[in-house]
C-alpha cells in the first residue's frame, strides 16, 4: 500500500480489486440525454450481456444503442473492419436517421488494436453522418469515467467560432460553458441559479441535441458539474484553449454555494443572497439531518462522486470512515478536496483517508472491524452486507438520481436515509442478522 499526504489528507492506493460498472454503461444515460444520438458499442457478448442486464427495463424501450458484436472473423482480422462498420452504420442510418453516431471502443477493440479513430473520419465522409469515437473500456476506466471519454471526444467537435451572420444580437456577457451530462430539469435549475446572479451561460456540453453543441472559443471559461470529468477538462483547456474554473461540485447546498461563489468571483460579481439561500436549504433539510447526525458512513468507492458526497455528509454531521474512489485526479478535484478539508475542520472531525483503487476484500475486513452505520457500495456487496446486519445504500443510484444544485439536496438525503428509515420499521421482526450458520464471514 502506498500512501502520500497533502494538506493533512491521507491518500492511499490499494490493489484495484474492486467492483464497479464497466464504463460503457454511460451509453444508458447519454443516449437519453443527447436526443439525436445513436451509440454503437463495438465489443463482444460480454459487453452486450452487461448492458442488457444493467440497463434493466430500458432495454425494451427500443433504445438508441446497439452492439456491434465482434465475431471470430473480426478478431482474427479475416473480415475488414471498415466494411463491417460501414454495413452496420448504414443500417443504423436507414432505420434510425441519427444526427450523430458514437462508437464506443471496448477492451476488445483495444487489444486487437482496431483503428476506430482512423476509420471514423473516412466512414463519416462516406455515409454523411458525424461519427465520434470514445474509448470507454474497462482496461483504463471505471464506470462514470465512460462519460468523461465521450464528452472529451465531443469537445473536439464544438465549433470554434460562431458564424457571425447567424449570431443575431444575442448578448453574450459571460463566456461560460458548463460541462457534464445532467437531466434537463437539473440543467434548467442550475441555469436558473446562475441567472439569479446575472450570469448567462453560453452553452452546455453536452446539449440536448448534437446539433446544439456550444461554440467554444479560446479564452472562454469552462466549469465542470461532476467530479469524474478530468479528461474533458483537460481537453477543453489544451485543445480549445478554454480557461477552467476550479471549484467544488454543485452537490449539496454547501457545494452548490461554493460552485456559484467561484463562478461569481471569476466574473467579478458579488453574489446576491447566496448565503441566505444556502441557509434556507439547510433548514429545510433538518428533518433528514437529524436522522444521520453522528452516524458513520463508509464509501467503498465505485463512481468518483465519493469525495463530494462525503464532504456533504460530513457537513450534515456524519462521520466518514473511509472514502474509497476508483481514480483520484488531485488537480481537477483540488477545490473539492480543499472544501472537504475545511468542512472537516469546521465540523471538528478527522479528515477521512482517501483510498484510491481500493481492494474490496480488504475493505470488507475494515467494515467488519468498524461496523459503520451505513456502507455506500455496489450491488455485488449490498445484500451480503445487509444479511450481516450492516445498512447499505446502493451507490449507483447516486449517478441516476438528480443530486445537483440547491433544489436536489433533499434527494441525496432521501437516498442516504432510506435504509435507516426502513430499518426503524423492521426492528420488530427480528435482529438484523440473516446469514446461514455455515457462512464463513
Amino acid at each position: 500500500m502506498q500512501a502520500s499526504t497533502n494538506n493533512n489528507i491521507t491518500f492511499e492506493c490499494e490493489t484495484g480489486n474492486y467492483h464497479t460498472f464497466c464504463p460503457i454503461s454511460c451509453v444508458s444515460w447519454l443516449y437519453q440525454k443527447i436526443e439525436d444520438s445513436f451509440f454503437l458499442v463495438i465489443g463482444t457478448k460480454t459487453c452486450g450481456y452487461f448492458l442488457q442486464n444493467a440497463m434493466g427495463v430500458m432495454i425494451f424501450a427500443e433504445p438508441r444503442y446497439a452492439m456491434a458484436e465482434l465475431e471470430e472473423g473480426d478478431i482474427s482480422a479475416q473480415l475488414n473492419d471498415y466494411e463491417e462498420l460501414k454495413r452496420l452504420c448504414l443500417q443504423i442510418k436507414k432505420d434510425r436517421q441519427p444526427g450523430v453516431i458514437f462508437w464506443i471502443g471496448t477492451c476488445t477493440t483495444e487489444i486487437i488494436k482496431m483503428d476506430l479513430e482512423g476509420i471514423a473520419p473516412k466512414l463519416e465522409a462516406d455515409i454523411q453522418i458525424p461519427i465520434i469515437v470514445a474509448r470507454a473500456n474497462g482496461l483504463d476506466y471505471a464506470f462514470t469515467q465512460g462519460e468523461d471519454t465521450v464528452l472529451a471526444a465531443m469537445a473536439h467537435r464544438c465549433p470554434n467560432q460562431e458564424y457571425k451572420n447567424l449570431n443575431i444580437s444575442k448578448p453574450e456577457n459571460h463566456k461560460l460553458i458548463i460541462f457534464g451530462s445532467l437531466p434537463d430539469t437539473v440543467v434548467k435549475q442550475l441555469s436558473h441559479e446562475l441567472f439569479k446572479q446575472n450570469i448567462s451561460i453560453k452553452g452546455w456540453l453536452p446539449a440536448q441535441r448534437y446539433s446544439e453543441l456550444p461554440t467554444i472559443e479560446a479564452g472562454d471559461y469552462v466549469i465542470g458539474v461532476n467530479p469524474f470529468l478530468s479528461r474533458t477538462a483537460t481537453t477543453l483547456m489544451r485543445r480549445k484553449k478554454a480557461k477552467l474554473i476550479s471549484a467544488p461540485f454543485p452537490i449539496g447546498p454547501d457545494g452548490t454555494k461554493a460552485w456559484i461563489d467561484k463562478i461569481c468571483h471569476v466574473f467579478n460579481i458579488v453574489p446576491k443572497g447566496l448565503s441566505t439561500r444556502e441557509n434556507d436549504i439547510w433548514k429545510n433539510l433538518e428533518e433528514y439531518i437529524s436522522l444521520i447526525r453522528g452516524k458513520s458512513v463508509f464509501f467503498m468507492g465505485d463512481n468518483l462522486l465519493e469525495i463530494s458526497l462525503a464532504r456533504f455528509l460530513i457537513r450534515c454531521g456524519m462521520i466518514v470512515y473511509e472514502i474509497g474512489i476508483p481514480y483520484m485526479d488531485k488537480r481537477y478535484q483540488k477545490a473539492e478536496i480543499e472544501l472537504l478539508t475545511q468542512t472537516c475542520h469546521k465540523m471538528g472531525v478527522k479528515i477521512p483517508k482517501i483510498v484510491e483503487k481500493p481492494d474490496n476484500y480488504n475493505q470488507l475486513d475494515r467494515i467488519r472491524d468498524l461496523k459503520p452505520d451505513l456502507v455506500i457500495t455496489g450491488m455485488a456487496h449490498a445484500n451480503p452486507l445487509e444479511a450481516r446486519g450492516i445498512n447499505t445504500k446502493w451507490s449507483v443510484e447516486f449517478t441516476f438520481a438528480p443530486i445537483h444544485g440547491f433544489t436536489n439536496a433533499k434527494d441525496i438525503l432521501e437516498l442516504i436515509t432510506r435504509p435507516l428509515r426502513r430499518n426503524n420499521g423492521l426492528k420488530n421482526i427480528s435482529d438484523n442478522i440473516y446469514i446461514t450458520h455455515n457462512s464463513k464471514h
Binding site: G16, N17, H19, T20, F21, C22, I24, I42, T44, K45, T46, G48, Y49, F50, L51, Q52, N53, A54, G56, I59, F60, A66, M67, A68, E69, E71, E72, I75, L88, Q91, C107, T108, I111, I112, N137, G138, L139, D140, Y141, A142, D184, T185, K188, H192, D280, N284, Y361, M379, A380, A382, N383, P384, A387, F406, T407, K410, I435, T436, S439, K440
Partner: protein, 508 residues
C-alpha cells in the same frame, strides 16, 4: 460483426461461473478487465444471495496489456487460497483474456504448487460456445477432474448403493426455477423409493464427486447443463442416464417409465403404474383441470412458444397434448441442440423456429398474432407492445422470475403451477378482449384532481412543460402540492422558479 442489443444466452464465462459458484467452497477467479464481474451483481440481486459471491477478478489493465499478467494471476490465486481456503479454484477466461492468448494453463500449474486448493482452468472457447454450452462443459470438466484425481492415487473402486439410487445432475444457480424444481424432484424420487446419491453442482462438495458412480443411474432434468457429465459417467462407469424432463403429465410419465425400465435391467423390478395413475388424477390437478369445462374455452385458442430447448419443448407438448391449445409455432434459441428440438416438437406444431435473433421472433409474433405467448422476458415485452398476454417459461429472466413462493415447473406440483400460468395468461387476454368489446375500462381522466378550480393560480407555459416531464404516477401530487404552496404564498402565477421553490420547501 453483428448488430444486436439483446441476447438470449450470455457469454461463455457466465456459464462457468454459474457452475463454479453453485458448488460449495469453490472459488472462481476471472481473468478480466474492470467491470466484467457483473455476475456478482446478478447473483446478489436476482437470487438475493445472502453470501458474497465466490467470484473475484484478476484485473486485466494497461500494465497487463503491455507486460502480460506475469505473477498477477498466480498471486491472486494463492491469495484467495489463503483468504478463503476453497477446495477448488477455477480460473475463468473471458472474451478479453482469450484474445490475449496468455498461457493461463501455465499459471494454473504454477499456482497449484503453492496452494492447498486444487486449481483448474475452465476449458471454454469464448467465441464458439455460449453460456449454456459452457456450463455443460465446465460441470463435466470438474467432475472428470475429481474422478481422475482419485483414480490416479488409488484406483477408484465403485460399490453401488444397496438400494436403487440416483444422481441429479444440472441444478445450478441463476437457473430458471431450479431450486423449486429440486424440491419437487426430491419428492418424486422419494415417492419412487429411489435414494438420492448426489445432487450436483448445487451446494455439492467437490470432494464427494468420486462417489458419483455409486448411484445406479443419473438423472438430467435440463438439457442445457448436465448431459456431457452424464455421458462421461456413462462412458467411464457404464452408468445409464435418464434425460427426459419431467415437465407436464406426459413427460413425467415417460420419465418414470424409463426409470422403471432401467431399474428392471438392473434386476430391480418395480411397477409405478398405480403411482402414476394416482398422482395424475388426484395429486396433480392439471389433468382434471384440462377436463373441466373452464378449459373447454381454451380449445382452439392459439399460442406460440419460445425459450431454451428444455422448457420450450415441454411447454409445447403440454399446450398441445394436455390442454388442447393450437400451437402455431414453437422455437428455441439453443441452436446447438436444434436436432433434438425439431424431433420433439415437429409433430406438435406446423412450424419450428431456430434462431437467437429476437427481431425475427418479434416479427413472427406480430405476423401470426397468437392469443397468448409462452416465452422469455423478451417475448413478454414483445407481448406488451402488441397487447398479447405472455407467460414466462424460460431464461433469460428478471428478478420477478425468482419468486419467494414455491413455484416449480417440474414434477406433479409443477403441472399445477403450469396449468395456472397457462389459464391465467388466456383469461387475462379474454378479459381484455371482452372489456374492449363492451367499451373498455373506465378511463375518464380525473380532471378535478387539482386545486386550481378556483382559478386563482395559473401556470406559465414553461412550468407546465416542466410538469409534463415528471413521471405520470406522481405528476398529480406534484401539481397539487405546488398549487397549495403557491396559494399559501400568494403567488398567482406558477413559474419554473416557484416550482423549484415549492420542491425545496415542501417536505413530502
Amino acid at each position: 460483426m453483428k448488430l444486436a442489443y439483446w441476447m438470449y444466452a450470455g457469454p461463455a464465462h457466465i456459464g462457468t461461473l454459474r457452475i463454479a459458484s453453485s458448488f460449495k467452497n469453490v472459488h472462481a477467479i476471472m481473468h478480466a478487465p474492470l467491470g466484467d464481474d457483473y455476475f456478482n451483481v446478478m447473483r446478489s440481486m436476482l437470487e438475493r444471495d445472502r453470501n458474497f459471491t465466490p467470484v473475484t477478478a484478476s484485473i486485466v489493465d494497461r500494465h497487463v496489456l503491455a507486460k502480460g499478467s506475469q505473477e498477477k494471476v498466480i498471486n491472486n490465486i494463492t491469495r484467495k487460497d489463503k483468504e478463503e481456503n476453497p477446495d477448488l479454484v477455477v480460473l475463468t477466461p473471458t472474451c478479453t483474456s482469450s484474445i490475449l492468448q496468455e498461457d493461463l494453463n501455465n499459471f494454473v500449474q504454477r499456482a497449484s504448487i503453492e496452494t492447498e486448493a486444487d486449481v483448474i482452468l475452465a476449458d471454454v472457447n469464448h467465441y464458439r460456445v455460449n453460456e449454456l454450452q459452457a456450463s455443460d462443459r465446465t460441470l463435466e470438466q470438474i467432475v472428470s477432474f475429481y474422478i481422475n484425481k482419485v483414480n490416479r492415487t488409488q484406483k477408484l473402486v465403485v460399490k453401488k448403493t444397496s438400494k436403487p439410487s440416483v444422481n441429479i445432475i444440472g441444478v445450478l444457480s441463476l437457473g430458471f426455477h431450479h431450486y423449486h424444481d429440486l424440491v419437487d424432484l426430491k419428492r418424486l424420487f422419494h415417492d419412487l423409493d429411489i435414494e438420492i446419491n448426489q445432487i450436483i453442482p448445487e451446494n455439492a462438495s467437490v470432494h464427494d464427486l468420486y462417489k458419483l458412480p455409486e448411484a445406479w443411474f443419473n438423472f438430467v432434468p435440463y438439457r442445457e447443463a448436465g448431459l456431457l457429465t452424464a455421458q462421461f459417467l456413462s462412458k467411464e462407469f457404464n452408468m445409464p442416464y435418464v434425460s427426459i424432463t419431467p415437465m407436464g403429465l406426459l413427460n413425467i410419465k415417460a420419465a418414470i417409465k424409463e426409470i422403471q425400465g432401467l431399474l428392471s435391467e438392473l434386476n430391480c423390478e418395480r411397477n409405478y403404474d398405480s403411482y402414476i395413475d394416482l398422482q395424475t388424477k388426484y395429486v396433480s390437478q392439471a389433468a382434471w383441470f384440462s377436463r373441466s369445462i373452464d378449459c373447454q374455452n381454451l380449445t382452439g385458442k392459439t399460442a406460440i412458444v419460445f425459450g431454451d430447448a428444455t422448457h420450450a419443448a415441454a411447454m409445447t407438448k403440454i399446450l398441445v397434448k394436455e390442454m388442447g391449445i393450437d400451437v402455431l409455432w414453437s422455437g428455441t434459441y439453443c441452436i446447438n441442440d436444434q436436432d433434438w428440438f425439431r424431433e420433439e416438437v415437429c409433430e406438435l406444431c406446423s412450424k419450428v423456429i431456430i434462431t437467437d435473433d429476437h427481431n425475427i421472433i418479434g416479427d413472427m409474433i406480430a405476423k401470426t398474432e397468437p392469443n397468448a405467448i409462452f416465452g422469455t422476458q423478451m417475448e413478454r415485452h414483445i407481448g406488451k407492445r402488441l397487447n398479447i398476454p405472455c407467460g414466462v417459461i424460460s431464461s433469460p429472466v428478471h428478478i420477478q422470475n425468482f419468486p419467494l413462493s414455491y413455484k416449480p415447473f417440474l414434477g406433479y406440483e409443477g403441472t399445477n403451477q403450469i396449468a395456472d400460468l397457462i389459464y391465467n395468461s388466456f383469461t387475462l387476454g379474454m378479459e381484455e378482449h371482452l372489456l374492449d368489446l363492451f367499451g373498455g375500462h373506465d378511463t375518464t381522466d380525473i380532471l378535478t384532481d387539482t386545486l386550481s378550480s378556483s382559478k386563482s393560480v395559473q401556470w406559465t407555459r414553461e412550468a407546465l412543460q416542466e410538469l409534463t416531464k415528471i413521471p405520470g404516477f406522481v405528476r398529480g401530487k406534484v401539481k397539487r402540492n405546488t398549487e397549495k404552496f403557491a396559494l399559501a404564498n400568494q403567488y398567482h402565477l406558477i413559474s419554473l422558479e416557484v416550482m423549484y421553490e415549492a420542491k425545496e420547501k415542501i417536505n413530502s
